[in-house]
């Protein structure tokens, strides 16, 4: 008890040292705890984020068996459950990981009168998941529920009986409102059940009829269809430890022989989801390990300094203990008691602090509701940090404890300098060897994200810091003469203390290393943050991108014009992504204003896109049932050629030939052809084909005029159809075309066996395009797929390092011309509306204008998603690393001064007694601290920047690495300058405070005490 009281009194007596040791030990313990705790929490957050972001396939599985549907379900369900239990280990685990199984029996019912073939579905517990606009859920055999769209389209009502071919009459008991696709219950079947609400441009949609199982069981004729057993993951119940089990389950299901033997196929993306989770974890684990290790090493260094200093300060007391007959063990216990107790206190307190800090970080950064627990690894980290401190204590104390009592009274340390060189040499050799090894292995600036590469900043920082810290005293020595001659006391004392004081070089070393780590961390965060933002911007293409389906008859370009008359915030885009290329058919000026054109890639987007829409005549559109044309044949050989007008109907993928009749001999005549249901059709070309398909060479001279179309109101001339430039040589034949506005003179010599042909010139051919530089290379033309799915060639009019929406595969063309090139057939492409500015009003306006919004992407949201993946979450650790390094650097500066204070109090008291003013003493201290802090900071910043240059590419930034062209590795100089400047001010303030405290304690009365 007496010993404890003595210890407490000693701790209070040396409050400053106590606080510094406690702070450093707290930092060490907290730093060691934050990494593992944050990692555990982030793993949970990543898992939950990935699960919730995954599509329905990614968080469920479904086993599908095609064939006879009656009596098949139990067998499929049993086999599925067997495989699940085998992979998971127990039925309880399966129940915990998955929601209840959902079984469905799907067949169809054909209604001949309506020519509709909707699915007829019996599904487990379907009534609980349908909302009824009218009536109720069917419970009896041969009763069904229909959707609102079926009810409206067919005028079916509740209570009505409907008759499907080969089926008994079904009684309608209710009309349901099709549910949203985000309900987990429907899993991947909602697009099959509710196509009317998920329209595509291709499929005619009929929603499902839901009925009890008894209906299907009672059907005659062994109905064919699909049996489905599906189970969704219970996302909230899944813990990081379940990932291995999920991997086993996904593998077992997808490779199951048991299911394959029953002709069942398994669809699941759980394996991919889990792989994404693991990849994200992996990207997080490397920085966590490195940051934690670096902080630990830094705190160990600082702890070593602190404890050495503390034990050194207790030298006379330890000598007294030894004088009183304390043996080595008792003296050691007495000498180390204080730091050991402080470390023991700091271990749980630091762990708690780390846990609290992680909780704060997690609250801001991680998924809401993520549990933050202190894992075993966190406690282990805290213990390791403290054990490191104790090891530092033992090493530091050994010399003090074993030193003879008389020497301790005298406080001699003649060999310390030699030992310091030895320590530095060991550290420097280790650091340089590590760097050489990394350089030889090609790790520098490799994009492989290995922990080794991330050790570069620490090693480089230490190596440079060691060398620089040894240069500082030499530089100070060089100024001895000048400061002696100059006469000022401040500089005179400052340079001598810097050159001679034992702790100065160590402090400079720690300061430089800490600042190097902080600089690298800040630079990495800056680079990673801007890269994530840039990649998100370029991947999505615009702040918001809606995937839409215009309802029939709706012109998306007109809708966009209606929503945004000024053309600055909304643009219509047709997107066709094929292997290797992405065709973006855009409204050039709108696209230039709305898309995310990064100034680092394209300086003048509007200028770049300005040439995509050169002037071209309008297309010739025919709306009606007949077309006619006056043809004056001046010459034609051979005779009997057929005149054919090729037209493309709306939605058609190929032209339809419209025969205008056979041309016999010369003379003027009017020819007529029957249009294939044109509402409208566009004229593609006009041909003169050899009679009977003979391989003759056709040549002739024709005058065309009076192109007219007939609709329900009669014949209408097509103005402009014979205008100059409207027609062009379509096949590079020997063609001469002249026009007076009303007549086109056509002289031609066709290639043997080919028809004479002129095409309607309604667009530039090939289409001018702005192409991604990587895709275009040095070619003048690039092949891609048009909006109608047919191959086209575009002319490279401009190049962009990255194209918004398709950075390295993008081909941007004019929407109008691309649509004409596709003959108006846009069904294969995806319609999008790109928005800059508030998205919600645009979404509402689109809906009001009969444009269905299927999906919404946002560059901000994607950037946030990147930020919540492993590398993004790890980047925050770099910031925390920088903060911790700055705090440790400040502590090092304060510690250095407090150690100096104890040593210099007597000296300063003597100087004060001989008339030195406080101002000049403060000046000496200020210069000294400014040099130490400034030199350490500058050295650290340079080392950090060099480390960024060497290892910046190796910092993980994405789970799936984007194209290298998107990434930039130059940190934001403003951000870096401001944060480092603030850190420097913090250091100077800490040093100034400590210097002021030292001078306040200087008193000539201290001269009465023996110098220590």
């Amino acid at each position: 008890m007496t010993g404890v009281l003595t210890l407490v009194r000693a701790l209070v007596h040396r409050l400053g040292t106590t606080v510094v040791i406690l702070l450093v030990a707290l930092c060490a313990s907290a730093a060691a705890t934050v990494g593992p705790t944050y990692y555990a929490a982030a793993k949970h957050s990543i898992l939950q984020d990935t699960l919730s972001d995954a599509d329905v396939i990614g968080r469920s599985f479904q086993v599908v068996q095609q064939g006879p549907v009656q009596n098949s379900l139990p067998d499929v369900a049993t086999r599925t459950q067997h495989e699940l239990v085998a992979a998971a280990g127990s039925p309880a685990t399966v129940r915990r990981l998955f929601g209840p199984p959902v079984a469905a029996i799907e067949t169809s019912a054909f209604f001949a009168a309506q020519a509709e073939n909707p699915p007829l579905v019996a599904r487990t517990n379907v009534c609980a998941h349908l909302h009824f606009a009218k009536g109720s859920c069917p419970t009896a055999a041969n009763s069904v529920a229909i959707s609102t769209s079926l009810a409206v389209g067919n005028r079916w009502t509740v209570g009505q009986q409907i008759h499907a071919a080969g089926r008994p009459p079904f009684a309608i008991t209710g009309i349901y409102v099709p549910p949203g696709a985000d309900d987990n219950y429907w899993l991947a079947r909602s697009t099959s059940y509710f196509p009317a609400e998920n329209p595509t441009r291709v499929v005619a949609p009929y929603d499902a009829l839901f009925t009890p199982t008894t209906t299907i069981a009672a059907l005659h004729g062994d109905p064919q269809g699909t049996v489905v057993v599906a189970r969704p993951l219970t996302a909230g119940a899944i813990q990081p430890g379940d990932v291995a089990t999920l991997t086993r389950i996904a593998t077992r299901l997808t490779t199951s022989g048991l299911l394959a033997r029953s002709q069942a196929t398994v669809t699941t993306g759980i394996g991919n989801t889990v792989a994404t989770v693991k990849s994200s974890w992996s990207a997080l684990s490397v920085p966590v390990f490195v940051v934690t290790a670096e902080l630990l090493v830094l705190t160990w260094l600082l702890l070593f300094l602190v404890v050495t200093d503390a034990v050194e300060a207790r030298g006379t007391e330890i000598a007294l203990a030894k004088l009183r007959g304390y043996g080595a063990g008792r003296a050691l216990a007495f000498g180390l008691g204080e730091p050991a107790v402080l470390l023991a206190m700091a271990l749980p307190a630091g762990a708690l602090l780390g846990w609290l800090l992680t909780g704060g970080l997690s609250h801001v950064l991680l998924r809401h509701g993520t549990p933050v627990v202190l894992p075993g690894l966190g406690w282990l980290g805290a213990v390791v940090a403290s054990v490191g401190g104790i090891a530092a204590i033992v090493v530091a104390a050994r010399r003090t404890v074993t030193r003879p009592v008389v020497e301790q009274w005298r406080r001699t340390g003649r060999r310390s300098t030699d030992r310091g060189w030895a320590f530095d040499a060991v550290v420097l050799t280790g650091a340089v060897a590590g760097l050489v090894q990394l350089a030889v292995s090609g790790t520098f600036n490799s994009t492989r994200h290995s922990a080794l590469a991330l050790l570069v900043p620490g090693l480089l920082g230490i190596a440079i810091a060691v060398v620089a810290s040894r240069l500082l005293p030499l530089a100070c020595r060089a100024t001895f003469g000048r400061t002696r001659r100059a006469g000022g006391l401040g500089p005179f004392l400052a340079v001598r203390h810097l050159a001679r004081r034992p702790g100065g070089t160590r402090t400079t070393m720690i300061l430089a290393t800490a600042v190097a780590l902080a600089t690298f961390s800040l630079a990495s965060w800056s680079v990673g943050s801007s890269n994530r933002s840039r990649v998100a911007d370029l991947t999505v293409g615009a702040p918001t991108v809606f995937t839409v389906v215009p309802k029939p008859g709706v012109d998306l370009a007109k809708v966009v014009q209606h929503i945004d008359p000024n053309g600055h915030s909304v643009a219509a885009v047709e997107n066709f992504t094929s292997s290797g290329t992405t065709l973006l058919a855009v409204q050039p000026q709108r696209f230039a204003a709305v898309a995310n054109w990064s100034s680092s890639f394209v300086h003048d987007a509007a200028g770049l896109l300005a040439h995509l829409h050169p002037p071209a005549p309008d297309p010739i559109l025919l709306t009606g049932d007949l077309v006619r044309l006056r043809v004056d044949v001046r010459a034609l050989a051979p005779t009997g050629d057929e005149l054919v007008l090729d037209v493309v109907a709306a939605g058609a993928t190929a032209p339809t030939p419209v025969s205008l009749g056979v041309l016999h001999g010369t003379g003027s005549r009017q020819v007529t052809g029957e249009l294939p249901g044109c509402s409208p059709c566009s004229v593609s070309d006009l041909e003169v084909s050899p009679p009977g398909g003979r391989p003759a060479q056709v040549h002739g001279q024709l005058t065309l005029s009076d192109l007219e179309v007939r609709d329900s109101s009669g014949w209408h001339p097509l103005g402009g159809a014979m205008a100059p430039g409207q027609w062009a040589d379509a096949q590079d034949q020997r063609v001469t075309l002249t026009s007076d506005g009303a007549h086109v003179q056509w002289t031609f010599v066709a290639v043997a066996g080919a028809p004479g042909r002129i095409g309607v010139h309604d667009r530039p051919d090939p289409l001018p395009a702005v192409v991604s530089s990587k895709l275009a290379g040095s070619s003048a033309t690039v092949g891609t797929t048009g909006l109608n799915g047919a191959g086209i060639t575009v002319a490279v009019d401009g190049r962009a390092a990255n194209v918004p929406g398709a950075p390295s595969t993008g081909i941007v063309v004019d929407l109008t011309y691309a649509a004409r090139a596709a003959a108006g057939n846009l069904a294969p492409s995806t319609a999008q509306v790109w928005v800059r500015g508030p998205a919600d009003p645009v979404r509402r306006a689109l809906t009001a204008d009969r444009v269905v919004v299927l999906d919404e992407q946002s560059s901000t949201r994607l950037s946030d998603e990147f930020g919540r993946q492993g590398p993004g979450l790890a980047s925050v650790l770099f910031l925390a690393d920088a903060g911790a390094a700055a705090i440790l650097a400040a502590l090092a500066a304060v510690l250095s001064l407090s150690a100096a204070a104890r040593r210099r109090r007597y000296e300063y008291a003597a100087l004060a007694a001989t008339g030195a003013t406080t101002r000049s003493l403060y000046g000496a201290l200020a210069i000294e601290q400014l040099v130490v802090v400034g030199f350490g900071t500058v050295t650290g910043v340079l080392a950090g920047l060099l480390a960024t240059l060497l290892a910046g590419h190796s910092v993980p930034e994405f789970v799936v690495a984007p194209a290298a062209e998107l990434l930039r590795y130059r940190p934001d100089p403003l951000f870096l300058g401001l944060t480092l400047g603030a850190g420097f001010v913090l250091l100077v303030a800490a040093a100034a405070g400590a210097a002021a405290a030292l001078l306040r304690s200087v008193n000539p009365e201290q001269l009465r005490e023996a110098p220590s």
């Binding site: 007959g325 008389v406 023996a1010």
Partner: protein, 291 residues
């Protein structure tokens, strides 16, 4: 005759490194018997404190031997030396503050110096309080040592040194920096320990009062035992190489540089000056030449 508590034979101690050596003790022969009280006198730098540290087992002799309580210190391990300091040797250092943990209480300081053992905490505390009472600090037991006056601190230092009832009490300038009243009190404590517990005392001092109060004085000059005083009489000590250091008060008769004739007598040797470096040859010298 009682046993020797301290015995130094031809003790030599050299400080420094090769090329920069300083001989602090140059062959000291020194004997202190059990229960004796000895004051070590001599000018600053003569080697008194070095001798005292040797007696405390804090230095290793360059040559010669030191025995305390019959054990040769140079043959002991560090552990045995520590044990000797714990059980047999109490030390009072020159600066009162250096004897104490300034932040601890007076009682805490005595307890800090007590040897660990099976005695209960209460028993140790009683013993410590008794010691404090004996040095007149019972009332200051719970006061912080650093805030005691210089005299109180030195009395406390004596109590601390006596905490384990040592056989040998070594005191380095125990009364320096103290006012006369405090110095007398400290001296009383030391002599009281000798009288009541039979503690052998060796004290380094410049204070004549201390020398008078202790049974014997030994004067160290230039690293050698130069003189010894017993019962008010001072005697020169003949070194093992025959050297004799004259007392300073006789140097006017035989100033440094004098030539003297040594003349044997029945119980000693007379030294007669034959040449005075300041005045030239003496009458005695002429007499000698006349004969």
């Amino acid at each position: 005759m009682s046993e020797a508590m301290v015995r130094c034979d031809n003790l030599v101690h050299v400080y420094g490194t090769p090329g920069a050596e300083v001989a602090a003790l140059r062959g000291v022969d020194f004997l202190v018997r059990e229960g004796e009280t000895v004051a070590l006198l001599g000018p600053s730098g003569a080697g008194k404190t070095t001798l005292l540290w040797h007696l405390a087992g804090l230095l290793q002799p360059t040559a010669g031997t030191v025995e305390v309580a019959g054990r040769r210190l140079s043959g002991l391990t560090q552990r045995e030396l520590a044990d000797a300091r714990l059980r047999q040797i109490g030390v009072v250092l020159q600066n009162p503050g250096r004897n104490l943990l300034g932040y601890d209480t007076a009682l805490g300081n005595v307890l800090f110096a007590q040897r660990p053992g099976r005695r209960s905490a209460a028993s140790k505390r009683r013993r410590a309080m008794a010691l404090l009472d004996s040095v007149g600090l019972a009332g200051a037991a719970n006061r912080v040592a650093g805030r005691l006056s210089g005299g109180e601190q030195q009395r406390l230092a004596v109590a601390v040194a006596l905490a384990n009832s040592p056989l040998l009490l070594l005191a380095d300038e125990p009364t320096s920096q103290l006012d006369p009243v405090s110095a007398d009190a400290v001296l009383d404590l030391i002599t009281q320990a000798n009288i009541e517990a039979g503690t052998t005392v060796v004290a380094v001092t410049h204070d004549a009062a201390v020398g008078e109060a202790l049974g014997r004085t030994v004067t160290i000059r230039d690293g050698r035992v130069g003189a010894e005083g017993r019962s008010g009489e001072d005697y020169v000590v003949v070194g093992r190489d025959g050297t004799v250091q004259l007392p300073p008060e006789l140097l006017d008769a035989l100033p440094p540089g004098s030539l003297a004739r040594a003349v044997r007598h029945d119980n000693g040797v007379d030294l007669r000056r034959v040449y005075d470096p300041q005045a030239g040859p003496s009458d005695d010298a002429d007499d000698e030449r006349g004969r």
